[in-house]
């Protein structure tokens, strides 16, 4: 049955044009970076590299600054994600379920970070951190990176908690389950996957956060993106940046694919007011 329909369907030229154009614009730059990472010699005007090899992987991975930045970035992302979860998840539950005075005001103050031009906001925060001697410190960067996680960690979990079937919770309560038991056995398993996606987005987003880390942390606190900036600006060896790009981006990309369900859904765009 299904074989008959496509044979009669007209060719989707618009779709083919979009697919071809987007493949070219979106995929080619990344393929070029990927190729550079496995290249030992690629001189203009050769269309393909003269020599492929892994020499620069070895060189990049033995650089102490790369390891220091990687360790620091992983520490920062873990601390920021855990702190953000500790602050935002209870708040998200309260926003989704409870009615309390000032609820709307508080909810919007959490989302307000996205109603201002971000770097302007970071400068305003940095000016206060300057007085508090937080510039160039680990905790200064943690605090500024927290700001970037608020939207994901509030909006997505609020949507997740709102999506939980209230009747199942009521049914559990009717058979004598306490509030904690209901949350643990009914609410959390339903909202869990979406919240896990929010945590993942938050972790990866923090790992790549460049602006706050550069403004507050550099040069003392050197995260991976900050190191990348110095590689782009000052490093003559092209491959170092390419190797770092592939090495860091591919695992995160695979992790983000798990969170795609959340992003593809309409709820994500609605979070931005769409």
């Amino acid at each position: 049955m299904s074989d008959l329909a496509p044979a009669r369907a007209p060719i989707d030229w618009t779709g083919i044009a979009f697919a071809a154009l987007l493949s070219l614009v979106v995929v080619v730059p990344l393929v070029v970076v990927g190729t550079w990472a496995f290249t030992e010699a690629w001189r203009y005007p050769n269309v393909i590299p003269q020599q492929f090899g892994l020499r620069f992987w070895n060189q990049t991975l033995t650089r102490p600054d790369v390891w220091a930045a990687l360790t620091l970035s992983l520490q920062l992302s873990t601390v920021v994600t855990l702190l953000s979860a500790a602050i935002c998840l209870p708040a998200a539950y309260a926003f989704a379920r409870m009615n309390f005075p000032g609820r709307t005001f508080l909810f919007f103050s959490f989302l307000a970070g996205h109603a201002f031009p971000k770097f302007g906001l970071l400068i305003a925060i940095a000016a206060i951190f300057l007085q508090l001697n937080l510039i160039g410190t680990f905790w200064g960067v943690v605090l500024i990176q927290l700001v970037g996680t608020l939207l994901f960690m509030i909006w997505i979990p609020v949507a997740a908690f709102q999506g939980v079937d209230r009747r199942m919770e009521e049914a559990a309560r009717d058979v004598g389950a306490g509030p904690f038991r209901v949350f643990w056995s009914v609410t959390l398993p339903q909202a869990g996957p979406t919240i896990a996606a929010a945590l993942l987005l938050s972790f990866v987003g923090t790992f790549y956060e460049t602006e706050g880390a550069w403004l507050i942390g550099a040069p003392g606190i050197r995260t991976m993106p900050v190191l990348m900036i110095s590689f782009i600006n000052n490093q003559m060896v092209i491959q170092f940046g390419a190797v770092l790009s592939v090495m860091l981006w591919v695992p995160s990309f695979i992790a983000l694919m798990f969170a795609r369900r959340v992003i593809g859904g309409g709820a994500f765009a609605r979070g931005f007011g769409g």
Binding site: T104, P117, L121, I123, A269, F272, G274
Partner: protein, 261 residues
């Protein structure tokens, strides 16, 4: 926690308008703003920022609207592939994107290699010109713009469009009279988001754009970090808030409306 956002803004406004004058007497003082608007370099930076933001917003609408319309009214594997590609840039951190663009569009980059291969002369690279950040920022903002427009288009009922088609409306007439009025809010949200994101963007303008004039993001960063002049950096930040306030308010209103649903 919310004070991490609201307090710095109140603080920034307060510190730039209520501060000591030359004699050391604290009071209402707008001299840092006067300096900004009388300094040609600052004006040039603001102008290039406005130009980049406007150009990006226009390009984003021109690129994303047809993609969103196509995705809304098509089904099957090809649209799914197009949607996956359109959302893909969201998964690429801007630092990696900047690096990729330098390798593709920079001097002796992939575009030059391919042009040379087919016997054409090199292009004048957009890298380190005002077009460098425009290309990067448009690339970076395609996913969110498509998603927001698609979310708006999802609210349009098929019968409304079919009825218009039945009475002989052309594709353009359907778009102009039926679709556009219904998604005008989503279009404004998409533009607001793009403007708020682009106006003070840092990474892409810093790595792909010219050193002078520079966009407000790199300008604020340089004033704060390199010139070590927090007062003027905060003044610049407050000026960016003022330029974007309408878009910010619109964003908050739209989220509020969706919350009410």
């Amino acid at each position: 926690m919310a004070w991490l956002i609201i307090w710095p803004i109140i603080n920034a406004i307060g510190r730039t308008i209520w501060r000591p004058d030359a004699d050391g007497n604290a009071g209402f003082n707008l001299s840092s703003y006067t300096f900004f608007f009388s300094d040609q370099y600052s004006i040039n930076n603001l102008t290039i920022t406005l130009w980049t933001t406007g150009m990006c917003a226009a390009l984003l609408l021109a690129i994303c609207m047809p993609i969103a319309l196509y995705l809304r009214f098509s089904q099957g594997r090809l649209p799914a592939y197009v949607q996956a590609l359109a959302i893909f840039p969201m998964f690429v951190p801007s630092i990696i994107l900047a690096y990729a663009f330098i390798r593709v569009l920079g001097p002796n980059g992939m575009v030059d290699i391919l042009l040379n291969w087919v016997g054409l002369p090199k292009i004048r690279t957009p890298y380190l010109t005002p077009w460098g950040p425009v290309i990067g920022l448009v690339w970076d903002n395609i996913p969110l713009t498509v998603l927001i427009l698609l979310s708006g288009l999802g609210n349009i009922a098929n019968p409304a469009i079919e009825a218009a088609r039945d009475v002989g409306a052309s594709r353009f007439q359907v778009f102009w009279h039926i679709i556009l009025p219904r998604i005008s809010n989503s279009v404004l949200v998409a533009i607001s988001f793009a403007v708020l994101g682009i106006f003070s963007s840092f990474t892409l303008p810093y790595l792909l754009g010219p050193a002078s004039p520079e966009m407000m993001g790199p300008f604020m960063n340089r004033t704060f970090r390199e010139v070590n002049d927090p007062l003027n950096a905060i003044t610049q930040a407050v000026i960016t808030f003022c330029f974007c306030i309408a878009f910010g308010l619109f964003y908050v209103r739209s989220v509020a409306r969706n919350q009410g649903k």
